[in-house]
């Protein structure tokens, strides 16, 4: 195996489009294990974790831009990010993993349970994919096409994630649950962003759930049902049913489908309640 460390994004793009069987590596917390397990055997690793173009959190052109090589720990310590994203980032792995792992890695790894994915969907996140010849934008909820599968082409690099500044208004919350309390993989996670009136009537809302379908799921019908209405117990009952219709959890080594169903509803209600509290 060869390990290449390009100094610029252009170099990196040239490398991945010219070399066969090359794979991008950022933090490598997932990739190194996949390689060690011989699940993948790239001939070349192109390390983009040091590229300045891919780093940092900044506001530009009406967007919040998060560099793909920003570490998860940097997300956790940021004071300007929406709450649900910080909460999601905090839920990933352990401090050691968050210090190495990157936002771009968490997204491109495309695990249905990735803890930054649902927050970014709830926040209307847009991914910027760059190749040597083009640059395109993809909405996060359109990025995933299956477990570990995305629309990102082999010659593309995810450079940044954009969040419209509108989403900095409003409130958001994230909830997850796992087999234990520390260093844990989500059995289910939920993220909600919303704007609401003083009497709990929802003006705008976006919601997403993870680990209950092959890809992280935006709950569009739930959003529709909640929009323009005040949150109370009867509405929540209605919403619970909708959630159950939208999700398609499976049973695996981490949880049964039954448990996932029950907990998704609870986590959704808890996240909704937390997000609403800001408007009381």
């Amino acid at each position: 195996m060869n390990y290449l460390i390009p100094e610029t994004l252009d170099q990196a793009l040239r490398l991945i489009s010219s070399q066969r069987n090359a794979k991008l590596i950022a933090g490598g917390t997932d990739l190194s294990v996949q390689i060690a397990d011989s699940l993948i055997s790239p001939e070349i690793l192109v390390d983009i974790s040091g590229l300045e173009e891919l780093k940092g959190i900044e506001e530009k052109n009406g967007f919040l831009s998060l560099g793909a090589a920003t570490t998860i720990d940097e997300l956790v310590s940021s004071s300007i990010l929406p709450h649900c994203l910080v909460q999601g980032a905090k839920s990933i792995g352990s401090p050691q993993i968050r210090n190495i792992g990157t936002l771009g890695g968490n997204i491109c790894n495309a695990s249905p349970c990735g803890d930054t994915l649902t927050p970014l969907i709830a926040l209307g996140g847009i991914l910027v994919l760059v190749s040597s010849s083009a640059r395109r934008k993809v909405r996060l909820e359109d990025f995933f096409i299956g477990p570990k599968m995305t629309v990102c082409a082999d010659n593309e690099i995810l450079t940044e994630v954009l969040i419209e500044k509108d989403y900095l208004q409003g409130r958001s919350a994230f909830r997850m649950t796992g087999k234990r309390s520390g260093q844990v993989i989500s059995q289910v996670n939920v993220a909600i962003w919303l704007e609401a009136g003083k009497s709990r009537e929802i003006e705008k809302i976006r919601a997403a759930v993870g680990s209950v379908a092959p890809v992280p799921l935006r709950l569009k019908r739930v959003e529709q049902a909640l929009k323009g209405r005040a949150v109370h117990e009867r509405l929540l009952k209605e919403v619970s049913e909708l959630i159950n219709e939208e999700i398609k959890p499976i049973s695996d080594v981490r949880a049964t489908d039954d448990y996932r169903r029950r907990v998704t509803v609870t986590l959704f209600r808890d996240a909704l309640e937390e997000a609403l509290q800001g408007f009381n």
Binding site: R180, L236, V253, R262, V263, R269
Partner: protein, 763 residues
């Protein structure tokens, strides 16, 4: 040895080998390096049952770094491991595969990577057999025989009194069936050994292990050399909890055979997945429990049937069976008991010793029964336990009578006090949280007891400078026994603990002391140290009396000085006494031997004097449960144990806190998941070992009811907390939810699901 005032006893003493550990200087087996060292990696079956049709090693041997491949036929000896009869486990399988982790070949190469590559390159063909995965299937008439003698590993009964008569007297019967799941030791250090040929016809094996003498026996047998040609040195061992015995013998033998054949050092260090799949687990169990009592709460009869799922090989199943039998009725005075326990083979990872050794399983059942009985009688659960608790002079389930050191009632008293002073915040119960408080009582036999001879060797040497070198045949795997042994020697010789060094166990230099098990280190091992130190002390006493020109009985030793009892101001530094003793030709070394009183019992009924003592305990646990996720928080956990005498308070707390969390993991979080006989969560992400955020707030209360059979009155505390914490947890969940869970672990999923049935916890 009297109940005298002691200097370092009962206090907090720093771990004597702690500096090496906190600085990273301590060498574990996997840290060792020898010139020319090679690495071994095993090819495993990967299927739970089948017949091996082909083992072609040619491709593996073509890898340049590969030095050798060992197959069953390359083992000079009988190619067998296994701690107890029937010694049914092949070192390398050549014919039948009985579990997925079974080793078929060992590849030895210059690098770990090449060894692994070689192992995967071996062409193995196995004709699969339908795996037998449940004890019931294994016990069915006409079931395929996993071993030639059938599918029963060991089956015994405990018979006390007249069970039919007992149930006739009963006015109330409580009957339930309980299940417990497999548990993985999950010590942080995966198993590792390093075998080094010495050039003198001997081989030294450095091993992360629990019982170096077992290793020596297995290694010598598989090498087909006399045991005297094999030296096993215990390396620093990163936890064991019962688990580094069979597997250490397996990799120790393989590494030794390869190293002797090649004339080079060979290391085998397991990966985590190998450690989980390829070494023993805690037995899963099914326990049918019938308790008969009078209306006043007096228990008159217990009938218990236990099936242990022992997996593919016998390992310690026979002894775990015995221990389950003996402890199944709990720490109570019950006149009529019938227990049947059968350990069964299945095509799964084999089960053996794990901290508690069959006791956590049966205690969960017996303590659940106690709470069920209390609720039927509308009696307070602690009052019911108190009413039936063993007292000095009572007969245990085996009919053994202890006149001393039966401190169960004192442990109940301690818990009763705490119960009164701390209310469960049940009034805070709301739409979200349910609160519950659970109790448990337990006992755990100390010493090998019925399992055979219980002997320990210890050597004490005093140098001319007055420092003490101690060697004991029992291993410290982290539990702190070296520190306890140092304290015992220091106490006897009147030196400070920092003047005592305790060697790692080396089979060359101390008597075969059997396995380090059964919470017996402090009790039996401490006695051996006491005796050896007392012998050496005689020389020092004689010398000092000559120097003081006073009678020997006048001399005492304290703080590295000899002094006269009447006149404390007359002092001679111990180093001067030791040097003078050396130059006078007095012996300054002694090899002593401690032998626990032999068990005297009937193997067919398990009646008689079985252990030298029991540790008794009472636990109380307060929890709250999130109705909507099943998440559990432990608010308070108090563990009260009668441990005879505290030697090192820090060590005791460490054992109680650590053991309790293993018990909590067993009861709530840890579950081996498998599919078709393959473990699907052989890693620390999906096998949920508790993290710091899952810890429980254990508080230790020591009851010291002097034990005449232990050094300075002590009894072991290593195993007991596991059963206590697990059972108290189960009862707390029942109290909080109103649902009796009969299976461990009770996961948050289980809680949510059961609650849902009752319509209590759904949105």
């Amino acid at each position: 040895m009297g109940n005298v005032k002691l200097s370092s006893m009962g206090k907090r003493v720093r771990k004597i080998d702690g500096v090496e550990l906190v600085t990273g200087r301590a060498k574990f087996a996997g840290d060792m390096k020898f010139p020319g060292m090679l690495y071994g990696y095993a090819r495993r079956a990967g299927v739970p049952a089948g017949i091996i049709k082909k083992r072609d090693v040619r491709t593996a041997l073509k890898i340049p770094e590969v030095a050798m491949v060992l197959l069953a036929e390359d083992i000079p000896g009988p190619n067998i491991i296994g701690i107890l009869p029937p010694f049914d486990q092949p070192l390398l399988a050549a014919e039948e595969i009985r579990y997925e982790g079974e080793s078929i070949a060992l590849v030895v190469a210059k690098t770990k990577t090449a060894a692994k590559e070689g192992a995967l390159a071996i062409e193995v063909e196995i004709d699969p057999l339908e795996p037998i995965l449940e004890p019931d299937e294994a016990l069915k008439k006409g079931a395929r025989k996993i071993h030639p003698a059938g599918n029963i590993t060991y089956s015994k009964k405990l018979i006390k009194g007249d069970i039919d008569k007992g149930f006739k007297e009963a006015e109330l019967v409580v009957e339930n069936t309980y299940h417990t799941s497999f548990q993985e030791h999950a010590y942080l250090e995966p198993e590792a050994v390093c075998a080094v040929p010495c050039g003198d016809g001997r081989v030294t094996v450095y091993a992360s292990c629990q019982s170096p003498f077992h290793l020596r026996g297995h290694i010598a047998a598989n090498l087909s050399v006399p045991a005297s040609r094999v030296r096993v040195v215990q390396a620093y061992t990163g936890g064991s909890f019962g688990g580094k015995d069979d597997v250490a013998a397996e990799i120790g033998s393989l590494a030794a055979v390869a190293s002797v054949k090649l004339g080079l050092p060979v290391m085998i260090a397991h990966e985590r997945e190998e450690s989980i799949k390829g070494s023993n687990l805690r037995h899963a169990s099914r326990i049918h429990y019938k308790t008969g009592a009078r209306r006043d709460g007096t228990i008159v009869a217990c009938k218990i049937e236990i099936i242990l799922d022992g997996g593919a090989y016998s390992s310690e199943s026979p002894f775990v069976t015995m221990k389950s039998l003996i402890h199944a009725a709990g720490p109570y005075r019950i006149p009529n008991i019938l227990v049947e326990c059968t350990s069964v083979y299945t095509n799964k990872t084999y089960c053996g010793a794990f901290r508690g050794f069959g006791v956590p399983q049966v205690t969960f059942a017996s303590e659940s029964q106690m709470d069920e009985l209390a609720s039927r009688l509308k009696m307070d659960p602690l009052k019911l336990r108190r009413k039936n608790a063993l007292k000095p002079g009572d007969a245990t389930a085996t009919g053994q009578v202890f006149e001393r050191s039966v401190g169960l009632l004192q442990t109940i008293d301690k818990i009763e006090e705490r119960r009164k002073s701390s209310d469960l915040p049940r009034d805070r119960e709301d739409d979200r949280w349910l609160y519950g408080r659970g109790f448990s009582c337990m006992l755990q036999g100390i010493s090998n007891g019925a399992e055979g001879i219980d002997v320990v060797g210890a050597s004490v040497q005093v140098s001319q400078d007055g420092s003490v070198l101690l060697g004991v045949g029992l291993t410290d795997m982290g539990q702190g026994s070296r520190t306890v042994f140092a304290q015992v020697a220091a106490e006897v010789l009147g030196v400070t603990v920092d003047r005592v060094t305790v060697r790692q166990v080396d089979t060359d230099s101390v008597h075969d002391s059997g396995p380090t098990v059964a919470s017996r280190s402090t009790t039996v091992g401490g006695m051996a140290v006491f005796k050896a130190a007392a012998e050496v002390k005689k020389s020092l006493q004689k010398m000092a009396s000559l120097m003081f020109k006073a009678g020997e009985e006048q001399v005492s030793f304290k703080n590295n000085f000899a002094s006269l009892k009447q006149d404390d101001s007359a002092r001679i530094p111990l180093r001067e006494v030791a040097a003078a003793a050396y130059w006078s030709g007095f012996p300054l070394m002694n090899l002593a031997f401690s032998r626990a009183p032999d068990a005297d019992f009937d193997h067919e009924t398990h009646q008689g004097d079985i252990y030298i003592a029991y540790n008794f305990g009472t636990h109380m646990m307060d929890i709250r449960i999130d109705r909507f996720t099943g998440r559990v928080q432990v608010l308070q956990h108090i563990a009260s144990h009668d441990l005879g005498r505290v030697i090192n308070l820090t060590g005791v707390e460490g054992q109680v806190e650590g053991g309790s969390l293993i018990g909590f993991g067993f009861a709530h979080m840890e579950k081996i998941e498998s599919e078709g006989g393959s473990i699907t969560n052989a890693n620390f992400a999906d096998y949920a070992v508790p993290t710091v955020k899952d810890r429980i707030p254990t508080e230790t209360i020591c009851v010291e009811d002097y034990n005449p059979t232990g050094a300075f009155g002590a009894k072991g505390i290593g195993e007991p907390p596991v059963a206590g914490a697990a059972s108290a947890f189960a009862n707390a969940v029942a109290a909080a939810t109103g649902v009796r869970f009969t299976k461990l672990p009770i996961t948050k999923e289980d809680i949510l699901k059961a609650g849902g049935k009752h319509g209590r916890y759904s949105h």
